[in-house]
């Protein structure tokens, strides 16, 4: 009687077939977390005054997202439903702390530039959102692909925002000395775009453009079907 297993604890392995290509590529443009779902706006608005910094935070978030998605998809089935959020947060915090220490050790300039925002990846709603919505219910390989796709989408959004803000705000791109160019002289730059208001304006315009492009595509599709 003592080793009787209650029926609620039966392991329920998902048997769905995944479209791995869609999982990898949808996050970049079609279902971009920043431009389509408005997730992770805090770092996307606060850090993107500079292309290199936004690239750095994008890479950090990408690695954290992939590791936590994989780990949570492994442990997801054994986690009691009532305390799943604290456990996910603990897993995410471990990954973020490792990334923070690595950045501190190997890229001190980026670490000092990003400051608190590396630790704040713990509270990034994209990471917890993917863990809760996808990784806890799906297989390990699918969660890995989903984390990679969404992380790449976030990285893409950060680079786009940082590129346009730095270009308009300073007239030049300086990617940590690795490469860089000057489009127009410094005195013609609009420093407003490096300030917070420029972040909101740039993000709003890009979100508007992506939304109108998708509306236009859907409209064209329905027109073709109708004809």
């Amino acid at each position: 009687m003592s080793n009787q297993v209650s029926p609620t604890e039966t392991v329920n392995v998902p048997t769905t077939k995944y479209n791995y290509k869609a999982l990898l590529t949808d996050g970049i443009l079609k279902e971009n977390p920043v431009f389509k779902y408005m997730l992770a706006l805090c770092p996307a608005l606060a850090i993107t005054s500079n292309t290199f910094n936004s690239f750095g935070l994008g890479i950090i978030t990408l690695i954290v997202l992939v590791t936590t998605n994989t780990a949570i998809s492994i442990i997801g089935r054994f986690v009691p439903n009532e305390i799943r959020i604290p456990i996910y947060i603990t897993v995410i915090a471990v990954a973020v702390t490792i990334m923070e220490m690595l950045t501190h050790a190997f890229m001190p300039a980026l670490f000092s530039a990003l400051g608190l925002f590396i630790a704040l990846v713990v509270s990034n709603c994209l990471v917890l959102g993917r863990a809760e919505a996808f990784a806890s219910k799906n297989s390990v390989v699918a969660s890995f692909c989903d984390g990679l796709g969404n992380g790449l989408g976030f990285l893409f959004a950060m680079i786009v925002l940082g590129f346009f803000r730095e270009l308009l705000g300073t007239g030049a791109i300086d990617f940590d000395g690795i490469f860089g160019f000057r489009l127009f002289p410094q005195e013609y730059a609009i420093p407003l775009f490096i300030q917070p208001m420029g972040a909101f304006a740039t993000l709003g315009v890009i979100v508007g453009i992506t939304a109108s492009v998708s509306i236009l595509k859907n409209h064209k599709k329905t027109q073709k079907k109708g004809a």
């Binding site: 005195e187 609009i190 420093p191 407003l192 300030q195 208001m197 304006a201 409209h219």
Partner: protein, 370 residues
């Protein structure tokens, strides 16, 4: 007997969007021509030509923004119609924002700044919301705020105009004194700039110099407002109450710091108060519907203008306060539109309460923190 077969409104007034736009355009052109001649006689041909180029650049940028947005709008159904396209330009919709914006900018502004500011104002202030009549914020105020934040601190000015007085404008000087000036300095200041009447007419080099183009002559602005009110393109309520409340708040504050009657006069005659009242606060799209709402709007507008003048580092607060108050227009409308016309007492009381609050707020705040 003639039976009207169309549906309701059978009686229509002559006022149309295109008429209003044409009237505003004429008024702005009048101010522009006045300012250009003023500068031509004071400084010479070079300065006047620069202003002409500024106005042309602003109008061209506004038209370009409209062309781009019209083309993008036709992409959905592929219904590009050339006659509709040209019809847009005959109403003057594409140039009116640019023209007034150029008038509100410093006369030493770089053409690059003029173009960028106009594009920003047209696209972010007007076209993104759906064009003329749909905008929440006054596009001219949006452009002016963008100009103050983006190009206010830079040195992107025209250096090659030798005749322009490089001294600070009276407004900047007053702001550096924190608007508290003793009678002796004030007397010197008014004399050095040619007296109150010259301030009103705008015939003094110090005023014509580096200030905004359209803000040189208050007489031209008042004439433009009279013309617009006569043609029913603008309502007199907002501009008159706005300037009046600015005058009263300044007078009360002047009484507390021991200044005389000249103090509120200086407040009105420097900076963009009259320009903002004539061209920004009278825009029928972004202000409340009925007269009571307009009065409350104007009083709160004056309150924000004076608060920004007294208590912030910004030199001028007209454009900022107009943007702030544009946000509150739906709220004011929701509170004032449902009051029936018989309750005159309630209307007067609400306006009076708003006025008292504004007065106490500005004067109390300024005396407390200065």
């Amino acid at each position: 007997m003639k039976f009207p077969l169309k549906s309701a409104p059978h009686i229509q007034g002559k006022t149309k969007n295109s008429n209003i736009l044409a009237t505003v355009l004429k008024a702005a052109l009048f101010v522009a021509v006045w300012s250009i001649f003023n500068r031509f006689f004071v400084f010479g041909i070079e300065t006047a030509l620069h202003i002409v180029f500024m106005i042309i650049a602003a109008c061209a940028a506004g038209t370009a923004a409209h062309v781009i947005f019209y083309y993008l709008g036709t992409l959905k159904n592929n219904d590009f119609n050339f006659s509709k396209f040209t019809q847009k330009f005959t109403t003057g919709e594409t140039v009116v924002t640019g023209l007034i914006l150029a008038l509100a900018m410093q006369s030493t502004s770089h053409l690059y700044a003029v173009v960028i500011v106009t594009l920003f104002a047209e696209i972010m202030g007007k076209l993104i919301f759906g064009g003329y009549g749909q905008n929440i914020f006054n596009p001219i105020a949006v452009g002016l705020v963008f100009n103050a934040l983006a190009f206010g601190g830079t040195t992107l000015t025209v250096g090659a105009l030798p005749d322009i007085v490089s001294a600070a404008t009276p407004l900047a000087w007053l702001n550096s004194q924190n608007w508290i000036i003793n009678p002796y300095t004030a007397n010197n200041f008014i004399l050095s700039s040619g007296g109150v009447l010259s301030m009103f007419l705008g015939t003094i080099p110090a005023f014509v110099g580096a200030g905004a183009i359209g803000e040189t002559s208050r007489l031209a602005l008042v004439l433009a407002l009279c013309y617009m009110c006569y043609k029913k393109a603008a309502d007199w309520t907002t501009p008159v109450i706005y300037v009046g409340v600015v005058f009263i708040i300044a007078a009360v504050y002047g009484f507390f710091i021991g200044a005389g009657f000249w103090y509120p006069v200086i407040h009105i005659l420097t900076g963009g108060v009259i320009f903002g009242a004539v061209f920004l606060a009278s825009d029928s799209v972004t202000i409340p519907f009925n007269r009571q709402g307009k009065a409350i709007f104007a009083i709160l507008l004056a309150m924000f203008t004076m608060l920004i003048r007294f208590n912030t580092s910004h030199v001028e607060g007209v454009a900022f306060s107009i943007i702030l108050m544009n946000m509150m227009v739906p709220f004011i409308d929701s509170k004032t539109l449902n009051i029936t016309s018989k309750k005159i007492g309630a209307k007067v009381a609400s306006v009076a309460i708003t006025f008292a609050v504004a007065l106490i707020f500005v004067v109390g705040f300024t005396i407390l923190f200065s």
